[in-house]
Symmetry: C2
Subunit: 489 residues, 2 copies
Amino acid sequence: MNTFPAPVLQALSESFPSPLFSVDPSLITLLQQNTSEFAPRNVIGVFAPPDVEGVAEVIRAAGKYNFSVYPYSTGKNWGLGSKLPVADDCALLELNRLNIIREVHEDMHFAIIEPGVTQRQLSDFLKEHHPLLMLNVTGSSPDSSIIGNILERGSGFYKHRIEDLRGLEVVKADGEILRTGFWHYDRGERPVHHYKYGIGPYIDGLFSQSNLGIVTAAVVNLIPMPESMELMWCSFHSEQLVPMIDRLSKLYKQNLLHNILHIGNTTRLKITGAEEAVWSIWGAISGTKNLVNFLKEEITLHLEDIAGKIEFLTDENVDQDNHFRTLYEMYRGVPSDMFLKAMYQSVGQTIQEDELNLDTGRYGMLCCLPMLPMAGKDINDAITLLHKVCDEFGIAPAMTINPISGEYAEAVINLYFDRSSKDATDNAHRCNAALHEQMFADGFRFYRIDVENMNTITRDNSVFWKTIKDIKKALDPQGIIAPGRYGLL
Amino acid sequence: MNTFPAPVLQALSESFPSPLFSVDPSLITLLQQNTSEFAPRNVIGVFAPPDVEGVAEVIRAAGKYNFSVYPYSTGKNWGLGSKLPVADDCALLELNRLNIIREVHEDMHFAIIEPGVTQRQLSDFLKEHHPLLMLNVTGSSPDSSIIGNILERGSGFYKHRIEDLRGLEVVKADGEILRTGFWHYDRGERPVHHYKYGIGPYIDGLFSQSNLGIVTAAVVNLIPMPESMELMWCSFHSEQLVPMIDRLSKLYKQNLLHNILHIGNTTRLKITGAEEAVWSIWGAISGTKNLVNFLKEEITLHLEDIAGKIEFLTDENVDQDNHFRTLYEMYRGVPSDMFLKAMYQSVGQTIQEDELNLDTGRYGMLCCLPMLPMAGKDINDAITLLHKVCDEFGIAPAMTINPISGEYAEAVINLYFDRSSKDATDNAHRCNAALHEQMFADGFRFYRIDVENMNTITRDNSVFWKTIKDIKKALDPQGIIAPGRYGLL
């Protein structure tokens, strides 16, 4: 349907009085705005249920009247589509009113949260009530959803965020509520959420990067505040990239590195005044005081011939520089919009506070996100290819390489453009399409993808995607939830 | 069907000439022998395909003639059912002839192996061809299947084995071959198996503890040989259990422990001559030489007031004791049957080499496997309950508690009995049933279960199990694969 037939619209308006439901064209137009300037889809309405039962009611109505919904948490999937559905003719399903922190367990260090719970909200809550626990923050907006980012398999400053997941509550397409792990058993006095696999098939992964259900709560791992934490910072020349990557891989494998590192190029780091052809590395060294002191010496020993001076910033010596202080606090679980501001600075602008919603700001962003093997040669090849493609389009890409383990590093490549120029916008889109095309052809594989390029991931037409389609048919035979999202249409 | 109808039997015998297929009653009787003395099921035949295509042919025949198969790798699921199907009237499907090590990748440290590949086989292969890599061994038989243990979510000496998994090849019930992760894309020069999640829904977990497909190959993580490794060994009195568990949990959370520990009770450790009411801890401290030296001091500092002297055994000082040498080598990736022998010793017997197949030996074994929260109080409660139940039946349980992280510890509880005595056998079975019943009632949850108690896990009749059933219907509408295994019948 392009729009709700009149009798359906009337029935829905009765069942879901304002603000639970709207077909206001100006609201819909607003919600379609996205920083990437992806073309708007036809959207037939907007639901904003207040709780889990409300979500189930929307789903049952969708089944009854045969329409599709496109759920999002806070809608800040910036650079990958924001709130924009993959397919036309869906109703939006906002989950940001489900924003309860249901529980925080101190000893087992987890929180049970709903999709509308933001980084800032949980961080503030922990600071006040559980100062011994902290959030594995991401560099995105403090107002972004934690569940949204976990399910899209984003990465945090300490760990890959999907590995923070210990259990899910899911509203299925038939309106029933599924709980995973040991969570479906009656809960007594004993901890339930210490072990994510439960018994029987482990299915949490089914609901990440998928359209197989609507997650209404998740059990999320929190990090016990380390006894000691120091922020490591060093730089190296791009000619040293290959040995540096191989060296870091080895440090992970020998238990000297435990947390995610970030390695940023010059465009990413205009904010710090980094020179051309210089890469900077930052990350947390954490554990007991003795361990941190030991690791500082040991890491220095292994990297100093490549990296030169390695700085270790502590709560005491980090104060003088605002950026480093903010970064330091992010490793203590306090989210920040520093990296959003850095985006603007990288294109020579200063962001205004009211532009922190990228969807309405002046500068646009596109993302290309390959998961790189943690091998110097492959990462160097990826960077060479990146520059070859971007040079053709006259774009200076911002790039961060985030080693997550000794085996793989997440690459975050951002292309920025002036949204007020149609030429600049089109040029950036062509550049991003070429990047995806050529990266894929050279054997690099993506770990996340935007709504515009999403159909390209299924082009191998393999048994894998057919299997996902079979599971989709079993769990959502009417195709109610997010058609086309991470799967065959 | 209780047996194959004559025309079906003839067709199968033509399609699968000996040794690919058999209905020999003496073979079937032999394969039903199991160390736990679970009652035999009706088994209608035995397939033993030589390769993946052979597995697909069996599956297609099962679809055509409408019978079920029960796959196993080497069939050493000892204590949980061995080769015994959950339900009656299946054909056995042996996968042990699929025993190719397809690939070992040195830098990305993984192996692609088939279900028949044993611990011993891969360990020997690595020793000869890739001495810088080692297997995350388990304490079970060197001749047990690596894939079988991973899919059943067993644990290794370093890591939880399910977390060794980087991708699967699965023969589906329709005979098609599914590959997960990035594996379904054409493979070029670039590494493919550095990142297990791929893009789109992550489905590897679906095929662990399940009957949703037949795994014919897996990409399995190997451990880069640590620069240094020492075997930690210490003991403590059972009165100190609560603070010891809490202390260990803290060490994991502060990055001072990286590998699984084992904590064994006296019955488990007759082999070492441990005294009553004493628990022993063992595990590997690994990394660079400097790190290992540092960790030894630091761990000693944190544990010595409870544990007394902590021994750290090296390649040089471990030689004098045969058991410790064997244990040491297990942490260098060399599997051993030491723990199988220890089982016999714990009941006052010496095992003969030809009794290392537990299914034909004199002593029987049953398992109760709760996943405990890594909290002193809960673990102490579980042990108290264990002794209360076992005392009623006059059985001395062997128990190991294996902390896997700061949050959870796998408990391995074994009940041994003399299979030649019907009374002893019945008594052990009743004890095991009571243990499962009372552990569950007290809020403890199992991470693995035997074929006899399997139906009890679905008794909550929740949306979780209904969802598994819906997925089963989608992927295996005829119910060809292992009916009743980890799911509703």
